[in-house]
């Protein structure tokens, strides 16, 4: 226990929701303040920037819909990463797993002889499998050889990017693409319906919400979730209690890769209607999903809120690009600063501050 002025500060490992909210909000405010300084250095008035963002994302229905559209892949990949981080699998490869999902979906949409009614389900299944497979390799390397999973998952992102580039420049290049590097347009049966007037592909949104709920249920209420929670909190204890640590890590790896893969399916089947350049498909959703998961503090349902929040941050990047002619890299500045302040304030969560003025000695 320590006294700072009239306050008593003491360690408290049980974090109440109020303190979590207060600390997280403080971190976000500091991040936005620091981002304002960066805008100022770039030559854009921070006040103008934030007013533009506020008016064009939160107060405009179409701007808000853009945020929701961006939140869909963030939620799918983010829920997966919540599971991965809970199970001690440091998956930084959601970006690549998402791209693999997009590739698999495009393969099914363009080339698989599947009846029209089964086209979309087959695409989602293939996307899940491809994303899961892309995560299974680093998971096995980690579990069998002890190879650092942060680096391998990350390296496979670059490999996935070049795989997509190769496909759209080479074997899958569209007959109708004339000079452009992308595949032919998907058949109508392989396209997801949109909420009219927006790019919100609602079936993927519904699937994402459903899976967030399912992930919460499995984690909190079932016999499968228990070993995941124990492994995450204390791997030694899990091993001592003969829990299947191998299968826990492998399982969360598959699930997180698969969920990121689903996000990729949604992007190509809902927004683009074809496989195109890796940076056009994703814009770094897989990296931002790390923040979504971190901000959600290990709770899959929390990811619903944090994905929407980060989706709006993404939409702000769009707004600043169009209205203020700033490069899209502003989203990276936001992302980096938000993550920085979030992890830096983490330790504050475990301290309770009490108002206790010292009594004057008589």
């Amino acid at each position: 226990m320590r006294r700072i002025g009239p306050f008593l500060v003491e360690k408290d490992l049980v974090v109440p929701a109020g303190r979590l909210l207060a600390v997280s909000s403080a971190a976000l405010l500091m991040a936005f303040f620091a981002a304002g300084l960066v805008f100022w250095a770039y030559g854009t008035s921070p006040v103008l920037a934030y007013r533009t963002i506020f008016v064009e994302t939160l107060l405009s229905p179409s701007g808000f819909a853009e945020g929701v559209r961006r939140a869909i892949p963030l939620l799918l990949a983010g829920v997966g990463l919540v599971l991965a981080f809970r199970g001690q699998f440091w998956n930084i490869g959601a970006e690549g797993q998402l791209l693999l999902g997009a590739v698999a979906a495009a393969g099914v949409a363009l080339f698989a002889p599947v009846p029209a009614a089964l086209k979309l389900p087959a695409m989602f299944l293939a996307g899940f499998a491809a994303g899961g497979l892309w995560a299974a390799v680093p998971a096995l390397l980690k579990l069998r050889l002890g190879v650092n999973d942060v680096l391998t998952t990350l390296m496979l992102n670059y490999v996935a990017v070049y795989l997509v580039e190769w496909l759209i420049h080479g074997p899958w290049r569209g007959r109708t693409a004339f000079g452009f590097a992308y595949t032919d347009r998907f058949p109508e049966a392989a396209m997801l319906p949109l909420i009219p007037g927006t790019y919100v592909h609602w079936p993927t949104l519904a699937l994402a919400l459903l899976l967030a709920g399912a992930a919460w249920f499995v984690l909190a209420r079932t016999a499968w979730g228990y070993p995941v929670r124990v492994t995450g909190d204390n791997p030694e204890a899990a091993r001592y209690a003969h829990m299947p640590v191998f299968w826990v890590v492998f399982g969360v790896a598959l699930a997180s890769g698969g969920l990121a893969g689903l996000a990729g399916v949604g992007e190509v089947a809902g927004v683009h209607g074809r496989l195109l350049g890796a940076y056009q498909i994703s814009l770094g959703y897989g990296y931002t999903a790390i923040i979504v998961a971190w901000l959600a503090r290990g709770n899959p349902l929390g990811a619903v809120l944090t994905a929407l929040f980060m989706g709006l941050v993404f939409a702000s990047g769009d707004v600043m690009k169009v209205a203020l002619q700033m490069p899209f890299r502003v989203t990276d500045v936001f992302n980096g600063l938000i993550l920085f302040f979030l992890i830096s304030t983490e330790r504050l969560l475990y301290y309770r501050v009490r108002w206790a003025p010292e009594r004057k000695e008589r």
Partner: protein, 286 residues
């Protein structure tokens, strides 16, 4: 034939130089016990600082100084987060990479596509990197400060017991790593390209992180490893007529995965510092 070997070696050295410079910095940071995954971001910021300073002042040497300084400065918030505030080092490093790439892409927009009047020769960087590798090896292996730095990564309690501040040692190593990453960035924007473009680092920073592991955290082995990666990059340019360019571009990254797996297969201790990745808390038992 001899010509071919000679050009391959020379180009491998040039391609390997940024990886070696940044890798040496990362080796120092990791030997002190801190994994900094922000190399890619620090390199990008260094490249921009070098180009901006060189272009506006007309002196490439001022650019060099700016890159080193800015690289060191951008490593500071990471050091505060990971050493003082004991945040997760991996995530803090990722945040630094995002921030570095974002900052350089945003603030570098006015410099995009502009040529550099007085570029520096690649050979200067190559020689400097090789000399630095030897100097840094000697410093780490044969000086007291080097011993203290290594001990901070192996057994920080001992360093503390000697009355030396573990935090200060780690701050120093991390900031030095940032300066080296900045220097690597300067090579790209002052000599190799010489120009500024968003995405100039194209994953080289990540390769540098892998290099530290592959070289078993040894500055001299890092030279060989950088040469190997450099040769691979060179090869990917030479083979462009035969194999699809996308596959060749993916090769270094696949190679990193392969190399990490092979180093894991190696028998005996990996050479990783004992306390790598563990924040130090004074007076607390591990």
């Amino acid at each position: 034939m001899e010509d071919w070997i000679w050009t391959t070696l020379v180009r491998a050295l040039a391609f390997g130089t940024p990886i070696l410079l940044a890798g040496l910095g990362e080796i120092y940071a990791e030997r002190s016990g801190v994994v900094n995954l922000g190399v890619e971001g620090m390199m990008a910021v260094g490249a921009l600082a070098a180009f901006a300073a060189a272009q506006s002042s007309g002196s490439p040497y001022l650019g060099l100084a700016a890159a080193v300084l800015v690289g060191a400065l951008i490593a500071l918030p990471f050091a505060v987060a990971s050493i003082t505030l004991r945040a997760n080092q991996y995530v803090a490093g990722l945040a630094l990479t995002m921030l570095g790439l974002g900052l350089s892409g945003l603030l570098g927009k006015p410099y995009e596509g502009a040529p550099l009047a007085h570029p520096l020769p690649e050979s200067g960087f190559v020689v400097a990197a090789l000399v630095l590798a030897v100097v840094l090896w000697f410093f780490l292996r044969h000086t007291f400060t080097g011993l203290v730095l290594r001990s901070a990564g192996e057994n920080p309690e001992t360093v503390d017991a000697m009355g030396i501040n573990v935090y200060a040692v780690r701050y120093g190593a991390v900031v030095f790593g940032g300066a080296m990453a900045g220097l690597a960035g300067a090579f790209l924007s002052l000599a190799y390209r010489p120009s500024w473009a968003d995405g100039i680092t194209s994953g080289l920073g990540w390769i540098a992180v892998a290099l530290a592991i592959f070289a078993a955290w040894h500055p001299l082995k890092a030279v060989g490893a950088a040469l190997l990666f450099g040769a691979l990059y060179h090869l990917s340019y030479r083979l462009q007529a035969v194999v699809s360019p996308e596959f060749l571009k993916a090769m270094p990254y696949l190679f990193v995965v392969l190399v990490l797996s092979l180093s894991a297969l190696r028998r005996g201790p990996s050479g990783a510092p004992e306390a790598l990745g563990t924040p130090y808390v004074r007076g607390e038992r591990r």
